[in-house]
Symmetry: C2
Subunit: 338 residues, 2 copies
C-alpha cells in the first residue's frame, strides 16, 4: 500500500549535518488511534529518502508515571531532552479527573515555548485559496492556558490570562529569528490590546522591542478580529504572524482550514535549548484506526507530505486526510544544528 | 447621487406595528467620519420605503458628560431607553487617557447583552463562498471584556475573564429564542472548555440548560479553533452560533470576511427591556469622509443594503464599501413588538 517518492534535497537537507556513520537520533511518539500506522509511514519516508535517522520509540503508558504525574513516562521525556528532536503522533488524553492533557504536559515539561505552523497551499490540493504561504508562531506556555481558574461566588467564575515579559520576548525573538532565517519579509503581531490593554499591551511592547533589532523585517500590529477577517478575504496579506497562546490556537487552525485542514499543516514545537518536537495536529481518529494506508505524494522545497487514504469503516467510502510534518523535523534539525 | 429602490415588504414589515398616525420613534447616532453621510442615506431609504419613522438624532459630544463619564450625552442614552430602538453609525473614540470606548460605554449603559450578526452571502457580490447563511450571537457584557487587569509583579500582568451564570443564561436564552423565531434548526455553542474548564464550562452548562427547553432545535458544542477551521472550509455547517464575548468578536469578523467584509454585515445589539440598537460595524473612515455618496442597491427578504461608492481622495479611484444594517432595525422592531 505504501509507495515512496524520494525527494533528493530531503536527503541533502540532512546530509550536511549527519553522515551514515553518525545518524541522527530522534524520539518518536507514535501516539494513539491512527498514530502508529502513520508513524510506520513516516519511518518509510525517511528510509526512502535515505535519511540516516534512528528512532527511539516511546509509547504513552497505561498508568500514570509519578515522576511526570501523567501518562507520559519520564524516559520518553528524557529521550526528547537528549535527542533534542522528536516527532509526535496524535495523543488521546485518557478521560478521567485530574489528568493533564498529554499535549499540555509535553509543552510544559519540555519548555516548548513556541509552536510554529507553516501554512502553504499544496499544489494539487484544491481549496478556495491559492498560494497561501504564511507561518503562525504561537506562544505556547502561558496566556489563557495558565490553568488558573476559580469560582468567585456561586454562578461567577473567572480565568486568569497571564502574560509575562519573559515569555513574550522569547517568542517574539523566535518569530523574528525565524523570519530572518527563512527569508521572510514581515512579522505581524496579533493582539486585542484595545481591550486587554495590559496583557496584550505587554505582549506588543515586547514585540516592538525585538522588532527594533530587526530593521530589515517589517513589523506591524493587527487586531485579532480584523486579522481573521483579512485572512479569509486575502491570506496573502500576511507573512509571519506571532501571537499569544489562544489567538495562536485559533488562527493556526483557521489557516489550516484555508489550505484544506489539520492534516495538511506541519507543526513544530520549539523548546529551550533547541528542542524541536514536530507534531501531527490532527486527532487520533480512533474510528478509522487500522483502516489507514498512507503513501507519500507531495513534495516541495518547503515540506514533505504524505497523503493518507482512509476507507471509513462505517460508510465504506474512501476518505482522505493529508498528513504533513516530515520535513518540519528536517527544517528544524537544520535550524538548530547551524 | 442617491436613488432609492423600494422594497415592498420593507414597508409591510413596519406597517403592522406602526401606522402613519403613530410613527415609530427611533434614535439615530450618525456617528463620526463617513457616519453622517451614511445616516442621510439611511433616512432616505426609510423615506423611499414609506416607513413611518421619526428619527431623534444625537451626536457624540466634544466634552465628557459627567453623568455618563463619556462623550455620549445622558440625553442620547435616555433617547434609546425611551424609544427602545436605535441605529448607530461608526463612532471614533477620542484618543486620550481614561476615556472608555464609546462602543463599550453604550453596551454597558444600555445593558446591551447580546450582539447579533446575521451573515448572508449577497447575491451579486462575489466572494470565495456562496450561500453563506448563518448568525453569530455574542455575549456582549463580560468575559474577556471585564476590564479587570493588573500587574502582578514587574513583567507579569494578568487579565480576568469573568463568566457568570446570569449573563450566560441570558444570551443562551436569546440565541434559542432567536433560532426558534427565525425558523433556524441548530444552535452551536462555541467554546474552549477543554482549556478553560471553569469559565467556558459554565457557559456551556448554561447553554445546555436552555437547550433542554428547545427540543425542536438541535444543540451542539464546537471548540473555537475547530469552529474557525470548519467555517473557512464549509460555512454551511453552521446555523446559529452562540458564544462568549471575545470568541464572538473574532468569529463575527471572520464570518463578515466570508461574505465580503464588515460593510456587509448587519449588526444589532439587544438590551434588557427589548432595546435594539442596530449598528454599522465598519469604522468611521475619516480619510474618505465627505467623499461618500451612497445609493440603495440590494434588497432581499433578509435585509436591505446600500451600496456606497467612494472616490478616494488620494487615489481618485472609485472604491466600494457595502453597507447593510437597515432592515436589521426593522427585524428587531418586529421581534420586540410581538
Ligand atoms: C488539544 C488542545 C489542548 C490543543 C490546544 O488547545 O492547544 C490543540 O487545539 C492544539 O492546537 O494543539
Ligand atoms: C471596537 C472594539 C472595542 C469592538 C469590540 O472589540 O467589541 C469591535 O471590534 C466590535 O466587534 O464591535
Amino acid at each position: 500500500q505504501i509507495s515512496c517518492l524520494v525527494f533528493p534535497s530531503l536527503g541533502r537537507a540532512l546530509s550536511s549535518d549527519a553522515s551514515p556513520s553518525k545518524p541522527i537520533r530522534a524520539t518518536l511518539f507514535p501516539g494513539d488511534g491512527i498514530g502508529p500506522e502513520i508513524a510506520e509511514s513516516v519511518k518509510q519516508v525517511f528510509n526512502a529518502a535515505e535519511v540516516p535517522i534512528e528512532w527511539e520509540e516511546h509509547f504513552v503508558a497505561d498508568t500514570v508515571d509519578p515522576r511526570t504525574e501523567s501518562f507520559l513516562t519520564w524516559e520518553s521525556l528524557e529521550s526528547v531532552r537528549r535527542n533534542r528532536v522528536g516527532l509526535k503522533g496524535p495523543m488521546a488524553t485518557p478521560i478521567g479527573k485530574g489528568h493533564r492533557s498529554l499535549n499540555l504536559t509535553l509543552r510544559k515539561e519540555l519548555g516548548l515555548y513556541a509552536n510554529v505552523r507553516p501554512c502553504h497551499s499544496l499544489s494539487g490540493y484544491k481549496t478556495r485559496y491559492d498560494n497561501v504561504n504564511l507561518v503562525t508562531i504561537r506562544e505556547n506556555t502561558e496566556g489563557e492556558y495558565s490553568g488558573l481558574e476559580h469560582q468567585v461566588v456561586r454562578g461567577v467564575v473567572e480565568s486568569l490570562k497571564i502574560i509575562t515579559r519573559q515569555a513574550s520576548l522569547r517568542v517574539a525573538e523566535y518569530a523574528f529569528h525565524y523570519a530572518k532565517a527563512n527569508g521572510r519579509q514581515r512579522v505581524s503581531a496579533i493582539h486585542k490590546a484595545n481591550i486587554m490593554r495590559k496583557t496584550d499591551g505587554l505582549f506588543l511592547k515586547c514585540c516592538r522591542e525585538v522588532a527594533e533589532k530587526y530593521p530589515e523585517i517589517t513589523y506591524e500590529e493587527v487586531i485579532i478580529d480584523n486579522c481573521c477577517m483579512m485572512l479569509v478575504k486575502n491570506p496573502s496579506l500576511f507573512d509571519v504572524l506571532v501571537m499569544p497562546n489562544l489567538y495562536g490556537d485559533i488562527i493556526s487552525d483557521l489557516c489550516a482550514g484555508l489550505i484544506g485542514g489539520l492534516g495538511l499543516t506541519p507543526s513544530c514545537n520549539i523548546g529551550e535549548g533547541g528542542i524541536a518536537l514536530a507534531e501531527a495536529v490532527h486527532g487520533s481518529a480512533p474510528d478509522i484506526a487500522g483502516k489507514v494506508y498512507s503513501f507519500p505524494c507531495f513534495v516541495s522545497n518547503h515540506f514533505y507530505c504524505m497523503k493518507i487514504d482512509i476507507h471509513n469503516r462505517k460508510t465504506k467510502k474512501p476518505r482522505t486526510i493529508e498528513h504533513a510534518h516530515v520535513l518540519m523535523v528536517l527544517v528544524y534539525i537544520q535550524l538548530f544544528h547551524h
